[in-house]
């Protein structure tokens, strides 16, 4: 197995969700990595801003920044998933959670979230809510 190109957080996440075999970071693995992220979306969780959701998004942000741009379509799939999930979250609750602040800052830094996020989080989601988490779990989106 070649040396992993993923951060530890991504490797841990993939391992915990049955994707441990993907941790080499080989480019050809990317479609499967995206599938694992989709399949592990914490939909149906009682607390939509709970630790499982935060861990999922954090690992995804790490993965987005580490992935090779030659597989842009897969990077893009994760970018869309990340953004959609953020924009679907209850706004006031999201911005009020200190634990989420580093993730949101990271999203801004990666160009995934608007610079003025804290002042103008879009009132409506970029992607329809039903399509965000549960809708993509089966991998129907590309």
């Amino acid at each position: 197995m070649s040396e992993s190109r993923y951060p530890d957080s991504v490797c841990s996440f993939l391992s915990a969700h049955g994707g441990g075999h993907l941790c080499s970071g080989a480019l050809a693995e990317m479609p499967e990595v995206v599938r694992v992220f989709r399949a592990s979306a914490p939909c149906g969780e009682a607390d939509p801003l709970g630790p499982a959701h935060l861990a999922w998004l954090s690992a995804m942000a790490d993965c987005i920044s580490a992935m090779d741009e030659r597989v842009y379509e897969h990077v893009r799939a994760l970018m869309d998933l990340f953004r959609a999930s953020i924009f679907a979250a209850p706004r006031d609750q999201l911005l009020g959670e200190d634990a989420w602040r580093p993730l949101l800052d990271r999203g801004i830094q990666l160009g995934l979230l608007p610079e003025d996020l804290y002042g103008s989080l879009p009132a409506r989601p970029h992607v329809a809510v039903p399509d965000l988490l549960c809708g993509v779990k089966g991998g129907s989106r590309s």
Binding site: A26, L27, A28, M30, D68, E69, R70, V71, Y72, E73, R76, M79, R83, G111, L112, L113, P114, S120, P122, H126, S142
Partner: protein, 508 residues
């Protein structure tokens, strides 16, 4: 003679239609009675004209009556000389602010003029309805200090609405990339004219060192036209680009006339002309000698093709010379949006690896349809393989995988690309080496049709064997005719081949 383009200061004229880059014989020209000397090219551009003025161009050849063409130049609102804006043109002062100021201040119908001199500059951004002229002996020398280059963000998500803003582009993906020496974003009605040079100074910077590594950003072009309309590029020489030279993207109604594109044969990815997801383009009378493909017609990689669905279509490439680049005319491999209605005619190719090369692979998608590609009246000298169609091109991280390379039929699905009709007509190819043509379709989606008509292919004697296509398990060959696999219809009519081993057409 046929007038193809006329600005306030220039004109382009097709002298005869029966040559290629060169005329069948030299002619003499005069303009309003003034002798212009001998001309050997089929397409000629005239500079130094005056606005709103009548001209008469005369063509002379022995044993024939003179031909004349009358035309009137366009009007012009003003000329802004960049030296009046503070440009030094000494080759060492950073002239970026002065040049950009002149462009920004130019009113509609005006001309920004770079007189003779060497103008060191970072990337400049164009604006609509102006002419930018680099006179003979004017050089726009692109800075080599990438730390001072602006970056075009690949994707910017919308604040409101649904549409992403795509700016930076790299090999078919929206990725952060350095701005081009001349960048036009959503500009219209611009003329870039003159006998001057836009010099990327590739050998003097670090652009060609570890070129596949992202260094602050991806490499930029010498000319990027993004979502532009009605742009004419005439007469200019583009030299030593950091990356692809000319890159029109999502643009339409573009003319490139008598441009020259030069880069060393070993310079990485210095494609000459890469229109991507554009329509209605004319590339006429251009001369290429570059380090990669002379012309590469594209429409994005998978995400771009699937999401944007913008093909590259209605292209005319004629009276051009393509010397020494890897491919004369290449389609792909980023062709996920489709490429159609491309007519290449009256061109001269010399020393290329391949004349026409179509590259595709499984996964490019349902939109990835290449259709109606015509090669007519083409002269090739020492082109190793005049035609290669490869649907198993081993690009991208999974290019060598069984998914891409399997010769067993795979399910036809949303990832399956299509190759439609290709026509080779009146092609004269001398000094071929490997084969006249190599066609590798997909078993589940064969190439629809290839017609080769009224053509001649002659080979070097005992030419060295070469691998004709970049796919797995393709053996090296030499002195072969057409080798085809997974094609529905292959018509060969009135074709002769000289010094070939085996049949003219073989399915293997």
């Amino acid at each position: 003679m046929k007038l193809l383009f006329c600005s306030a200061r220039s004109a382009s004229v097709l002298l005869r239609e029966d040559g290629d880059y060169y005329l069948p014989f030299p002619v003499a020209l005069s303009l309003n009675g003034e002798n212009l000397g001998e001309e050997r090219r089929s397409l000629v551009s005239l500079f130094g004209l005056l606005p709103d003025t009548e001209y008469e161009l005369s063509l002379f050849r022995p044993g024939a009556d003179p031909e004349t063409l009358s035309f009137r130049t366009e009007s012009e609102t003003c000329t802004l000389d960049v030296r009046r804006f503070g440009a030094s043109g000494d080759g060492s002062t950073d002239d970026t602010p002065a040049l950009q100021a002149a462009i920004a201040c130019c009113p509609p119908g005006g001309r920004v003029l770079l007189p003779p001199g060497r103008y060191l500059s970072g990337p400049l951004f164009l604006r609509s309805h102006i002419t930018l002229e680099l006179q003979k002996d004017a050089v726009l020398a692109l800075s080599t200090d990438r730390s001072r280059f602006p970056i075009l963000p690949g994707v910017t998500f919308p604040t409101c609405g649904e549409k992403d803003l795509l700016l930076g582009s790299q090999e078919g993906n929206p990725l952060d990339s350095f701005a081009a020496a001349l960048t036009g974003v959503e500009v219209e009605d611009v003329n870039l004219i003159g006998e001057g040079i836009i010099d990327g100074q590739g050998p003097d910077g670090d652009w060609w060192v570890r070129p596949k590594e992202k260094n602050r950003s991806w490499r930029g072009n010498l000319l990027l036209l993004e979502r532009c309309k009605r742009i004419t590029v005439q007469g200019l020489t583009f030299r030593n680009s950091p990356f692809w030279n000319l890159h029109p993207l999502f643009s339409e109604d573009l003319d490139f006339l008598n441009v020259n594109v030069e880069a060393p044969s070993n310079s990485p990815n210095t494609d000459g002309f890469d229109p991507e997801s554009c329509r209605r383009i004319r590339l006429l009378g251009a001369l290429f000698s570059v380090g990669d493909d002379c012309i590469a017609i594209k429409s994005g990689k998978i995400w771009q093709g699937r999401e944007l669905k913008i093909p590259c279509e209605d292209l005319e490439i004629a009276y051009c010379a393509m010397l020494d680049g890897h491919g004369g005319v290449t389609v792909g491999s980023e062709m996920a949006g489709g490429v159609r209605r491309v007519r290449v005619h009256h061109c001269w190719m010399r020393g290329n690896d391949r004349g026409l090369r179509i590259k595709s692979r499984r996964g490019r998608g349902r939109q990835a349809v290449v259709d109606d590609i015509r090669f007519e009246d083409i002269r090739m000298e020492g082109v190793k393989m005049p035609l290669v169609v490869n649907c198993m091109y081993f690009c991208d991280p999974d290019g060598h995988s069984a998914f891409v390379q399997s010769r067993d039929p795979q399910p036809v699905d949303e990832g399956t690309p299509t190759i439609g009709s290709i026509v080779f007509e009146r092609v004269r190819a001398e000094g071929c080496q490997a084969c006249a043509g190599y066609i590798l379709g997909l078993p589940e989606q064969p190439v629809e049709s290839l017609t080769v008509r009224d053509s001649v292919f002659s080979f070097r004697e005992n030419a060295p064997a070469l691998v004709p296509a970049m796919a797995e398990n393709v053996p090296a060959v030499h002195n072969r005719g057409f080798i085809a696999r997974f094609i529905r219809e292959l018509k060969v009519e009135n074709v002769t081949m000289d010094r070939i081993d085996g049949p003219m057409v073989a399915e293997e």
